[in-house]
Amino acid sequence: MTPVTTVPTRLAAPTGIQQVFARIREDFPILKRSVHGSPLVYLDSAATSQKPVSVIETISDYYRLINANVHRGVYALSVQATDKYEGARAKVARFINAADTAEIIFTRNTTESINLLAQSWGMENLKTGDEILLTEMEHHSNLVPWFLLAQRTGAVVRHLPIRDDGTLDMERWGERFTERTRIVSVTHVSNVLGTINPVEEIVARAHRHGALVAVDSAQGVPHLKVDVQALGADFVAFSAHKMLGPTGVGVLWGRRELLERMPPVLGGGDMIRTVSLTDATWNDLPWKFEAGTPNIADVVGFGAAIDYLEAAGMDRIRRHEVELTTYALERMREIDDLELYGPEDPEGRAGVISFNHRSIHPHDLGTYLDRRGVAIRAGHHCAQPLMERLGQNATARASFYLYNNHADIDALVDGLREAGRFFGRR
């Protein structure tokens, strides 16, 4: 590795951004707790993010002051609940620059969004021999729904490989994308490697041949400023809980003309216009896909999460994460026994760093660091094909968000050095 000739960013004069992000930590009550007697250092935001007090209080206030079912009652509470619920949908639409609020479908999570897409669009449109193109770096949630679809329709799943540097091998596009490819489903940002994929380029190539593009943006929308219209994709899926919101809320965004033609997957209340004893007609978008009482309180909480992210500024969040990732890569490269995965350039990746210690299994590292209050992920990250490609059973992973700081990375690096001494003792 190149010797460290630049001044570590931590020692540089404080910038406006750093001051802003130092204050942000105050908004996350959980960061004040300790774990095994040490202050919590939370480095697993790629699994789920922590929640600011505004989100926690919004959910609590909803139950204290408003709680009623939506789209039903004529009384004040129901009207207010509906306003809050639909207001959150409008916030999501604005946040990702959707052309139409009706294009935002609430689900339970990214996984459910992709399953909805596969079952609704896929069952309607795919025939035996049609092809679904995925990539070698997908999370299981963007693999298995397509396997299920392929089993039911006789469609074929293919994948685009990755290069050794952790980026998609676009040179092999031509051999994997064929005239039978009907949809390309690709992760926006790898949850293991942090790689930011060239979605615009993929969209351009797929659309040229009439194939659709779905984007698993579970790790994208929370960290990058995403404009779905500029991105050009046909579907984008993401989860509230990875972007400061509560668990139990996901989003499927799709272009209106596509969603209009897709059949509902779940039937029940709220998704119908009329029902007879033997038949029904469907409600308008987006409710056609939202059968039953939705997760109202958490959707409202999600609205508060979006307010928070907008106030912090997605561009500033991105700069902060690039700075942290740069610093972390620099510090981690100083440790000889570490192997780091993913693109070298912090600009080409999100704040996710997977790594392995030459002589310490990630599970042992995870346990050791946990005893010092440092929470990292250890395992296959629900991406077993990628693990196979990396030649590993498992990796350790540290991931960052707007509330992390340089001290968190110092704690990680100190812990890794200590772990080396602890497990290397004779």
Binding site: H361, D364, G379, A394, E418, F422, F423
Partner: protein, 165 residues
């Protein structure tokens, strides 16, 4: 480790005996004959163990293990390979049962020779890691049961304990 923090529970998890087994796993060898072979997977982390057993007339003659995993699973497999040779089938299953109960909080019965397994006692305080310690033993139980019903066979086991304990 001057200046590093000492942590009693961590020291109890990673005792010197455990690290020694991890560094020189006793089962890393090739058997001249394998009667039963079984793979064990820990679905939580993707770790894998391959257990090869050479059977004798009344039980286990020798055991070899190939284990790519954490300190706990490799050490546990090594201890298994050290303890099993010469045991009858019943003794082997009994030992596996004793160790399983030990990981769930019950001390081994008086007079029961558990070899170095007592060094893994500290794992009990780390519930997530109990699966790591049990992986080789769950694989062994399935291997022996399969050997009885089907004769020589290869198969696989996961650490999901189907509704037990």
């Amino acid at each position: 480790m001057d200046g590093d923090r000492h942590d009693v529970e961590l020291d109890a998890l990673y005792r010197d005996t455990v690290l020694d087994h991890f560094r020189s796993p006793r089962g890393h060898k090739t058997l001249d004959r394998t009667d039963v072979e079984r793979d064990g997977y820990n679905p939580v982390c993707g770790d894998k163990i391959t257990l090869s057993v050479k059977l004798s007339e009344h039980g286990v003659e020798d055991v070899a293990t190939q284990c790519k995993g954490c300190v706990i699973s490799v050490a546990s497999a090594s201890m298994l390979a050290e303890l099993l040779p010469g045991k009858s089938r019943e003794e082997a299953l009994q030992l596996a049962e004793t160790f399983k109960r030990m990981m769930h909080g019950s001390p081994p019965p008086e007079g029961c020779d558990i070899g170095d397994l007592d060094a893994l006692e500290g794992v009990r305080n780390f519930p997530v890691r109990v699966k790591c310690a049990l992986l080789p033993w769950m694989t062994l139980i399935d291997a022996l049961k399969e050997a009885e019903t089907n004769g020589r066979k290869a198969g696989s086991t996961t650490t999901e304990e189907k509704g037990t304990t």
